[in-house]
Amino acid sequence: MSATPIAAQPPVWRRLIGFNMLTGLVLGIGGWFLGAWIGGQMAVGHPYLQGTDQNDVGIYMGYLFGVIGFLVGLGFANYPIGRLLGRPPTLRQHETGSWTRYFRLCTDHKVVGIQYLFGVGIFFFIGGLNAMLMRTELLRPVEQAWPASQYLTLVSLHGTMMIMMTSAFILGPFGNYFVPIMIGARRMAFPRIEALTFWLVPAAGLILLSAIAFGGIATGWTGYAPLADEGRAGMDAYVMSFILIAISLTLVGLNLMATILTMRAPGMSWTRLPIFVWSVLATSILQALAAPVLVAAMAMVLMDRAANTSFFLASAGGSQYLYENLFWFFGHPEVYILALPGFGIVLELLPVFARKPLWGYRLAVAGMLGVTLLSFMVWQHHLFVSGMNAGLRPFYMLTTELISIPTGFIFLIAIGTLWRARIRFTVPMLFALAFFFNFLIGGLSGVFLSDVPSDVTTHGSYFVMAHFHYTIVGGLVFAFFGAVYYWLPKMLGFELNETLGKIHFWLFFVFFNLTFFPLFAAGFLDMPRRVSTYAPSLQTLNIFVSASAYVIGLSMLIFIANLVWSLVFVRQPAAENPWASRGLEWQVPTPVPVSNFDRVPVITSGPYEYGVPNAPPVADFAPGALPAAGS
């Protein structure tokens, strides 16, 4: 099905007026001032608000009304208001037509996927820039480049921005774009909610960045409570942006879960579901269950700061353990929200480039579901030396170490799939294979942290920092770039330059390891996290790490150059199935039609039947009569 022809378009300036991102930003800024004024009125008569150097109620109300204005400007109120006025339940959709649909409320899951890719990508690069600035400070063991407060703000912005954006890194672009196509559906279960989940992300990102104007954030991404109570108005930005992201994560989880559970095409049985979709399902469960806890924790911080409550203040009967437990009850599933989609992507790519069926499909699914279950039972390992009930430590040591069993399955699946394979080292495959190298180091270093006696040294040190960068950057971000090189030809319709892709890969892979492996040693040698002052004896090591980190930054610039070169200048149209993949998403035309499939396909075979003699095609795209049941 081709796009419906568009009637004569009005001129560009005319199209700027209406419900779009520009209107959203204007109404958002207007809403901020309205909310701040209302908050100012509310503060009258409450000396604890007027006595401090800023009125937190005004700031929260400003952000709240700003977000509402942003969403109304984008047109999110049109549908409910229309329904209240008795209009029929249709939505003016911007699914076809010009590039402007990427800057509007659009309910086409493919547009939302591309919005996510670029929206999240921009914030990812801002977070990466923060890391470069931090490494500049650490070139010398005393404060030099930035004042201590700005350094802490950089640390906090980098951590918070990266956690927020990498949470949406895979499910946002690739989950939204490809899950409906991979299961043979024509849309997501809740398209308007899908659009909302995206537009909350730039709102949260901009609010987080506004912390720079409000005195910064001094707490790191964890925002531990008594320190958060002290913080200046930048903390309010942190709280508000985390609430928005958590709402977005919850809705993404519910939406994808509903889509996968209810909208699979006929014949798409659970054992034919692509492994990437399984990983998205597992991640959705985590997001829907864990992210609301973060909203609760943040709401309590908000109350402590704005309404003078004392949830976390020991002197008034509260306890900071409440915050630590709520935060890590979200925070530990969160790291698997980051890890699981990466598992899914690398296992999706391996069969395509090894030209073999996925080895041990059921074990891979069991591994992902096992990680999902166990990830809710390990969070107190973040509190091993906090003074938690000491008798509970062996239990959390056990659960933490148990989680390496299902994680190990992922390695076994890779080992089995590569056995006597016909490996092709394409750029996506290189990233997928690097994932296993990095995640191996990341995972095994986690065993040190899970063991309480060893954790006494490594806890809160650069060892932890190296560990989670190996799992998140080495795991998730490598998987993300694998997915970018693999799926972008389908999403955008153009080939990426392979040579530049390989330069990007090798620079990123080599210098990622040169950056983070020495940091294990820094942790072992008594260097705590989040300091801008450290032992002079560690300066050489830190200079080496900073220099390597700059090369990672350079590799990212090469990626951007590749993107601009391939998409703007060369514009070589991609083949419909350049990897000769059996995935259902590669059997549809490029660009993907608005409704994906003319007719809902009937799935006739699993997606990984490489080399299977007489394997049927993956689906029947023009089902006249239903084929025989079975297989």
Partner: protein, 285 residues
């Protein structure tokens, strides 16, 4: 070489295991004998020596696991790669029940052994005593009832120390006696800090309203490094100072001098308590 359906297939599995065994046989003695003595923490106390032993055991166990996976991957890159430009399908092997079962059994056995060993050393030995255990410790070294109590107070941005058995005096320097069991009572009067004495093998969060206890048994005298391991605001990185383990007579002399120095001000100090509840700072910057 075995021959399957006329095709000669090398014994990949045996080769991989052989390479791995050689590498393991080389690396494990190196880890235990050469790297091991350099693994953290330095063994200034019984606790830190035990933590170093834990690190040696885990490194010696984990490196062979990493080697097995790496040897397999590199081997597969060399021998299982497609050399032509053509897209050729490999053999359609979908799984192997025996291999899967073996993997599950072996990984489960390793993990359970690690957890049992970790729990045993944590509770029965002194390994875990250096980590903060809260007001009601589970891992108690022998003679803990007679341990010398030293209170560690975290505050923005310094550490101070009180000696309740010596009149509750407060000092800015930390000294503890050699060959004496010491109980650190770590607490905070503002935000969360973490008391990290690297060479002692001690890390305990300083939490307002909580008495977080860590035991330590020094084995020889010398200096040790104190840092803060939990972000506590602007000058978090500056909460570093040197502490000292002194021989018993030197410690008595030091504490007597400190008592003398404190004599005129000790009456202004708040009464010694396991926790303190000063008014909170809200939005102070």
């Amino acid at each position: 070489m075995t021959t399957i359906a006329g095709e000669r297939i090398p014994r990949h599995g045996s080769r991989i295991i052989a390479i791995w065994l050689v590498l393991t046989a080389i690396s494990v003695p190196l880890i235990v004998l050469v790297l091991g003595p350099h693994l953290p923490p330095p063994n200034m106390t019984v606790e830190s020596a035990d933590q170093r032993n834990a690190n040696i055991v885990m490194t010696a166990l984990l490196v062979p696991i990493a080697l097995l996976v790496l040897v397999y991957f590199i081997y597969s890159f060399v021998f299982f790669r497609e050399t032509s430009d053509a897209i050729v399908d490999g053999p359609p092997i979908k799984g192997h029940a025996g291999a899967q079962l073996l993997w599950i059994v072996v990984t489960s056995a390793i993990v359970l052994a690690l957890a049992v060993w970790g729990s045993y050393t944590l509770i029965a030995g002194a390994h875990g005593a250096g980590g903060g255990q809260g007001p009601d410790p589970a891992a108690k070294p022998p003679g803990y009832q007679h341990a010398l109590p030293v209170q560690v107070i975290g505050q923005q941005w310094d550490w101070t120390f009180r000696y309740p058995t010596y009149g509750g005096i407060e000092t800015r320097d930390l000294a503890i006696p050699d060959h004496t069991l010491v109980a650190f009572h770590v607490t905070s009067i503002d935000v969360t800090h973490s008391f990290w004495a690297y060479e002692l093998g001690v890390k305990a969060d300083a939490v307002p309203g909580v008495d977080n206890i860590a035991y330590v048994n020094p084995r020889h005298t010398g200096f040790f490094q104190i840092r803060c391991a939990e972000l506590c605001g602007l000058w978090h990185g500056h909460m570093a100072k040197k502490g000292r383990v002194l021989a018993a007579p030197a410690f008595q002399a030091w504490i007597a001098a400190a008592q003398k120095q404190n004599a005129s001000i000790v009456k202004y100090l708040p009464k010694y308590s396991r926790v303190y509840y000063p008014l909170p700072l809200r939005r102070a910057g």
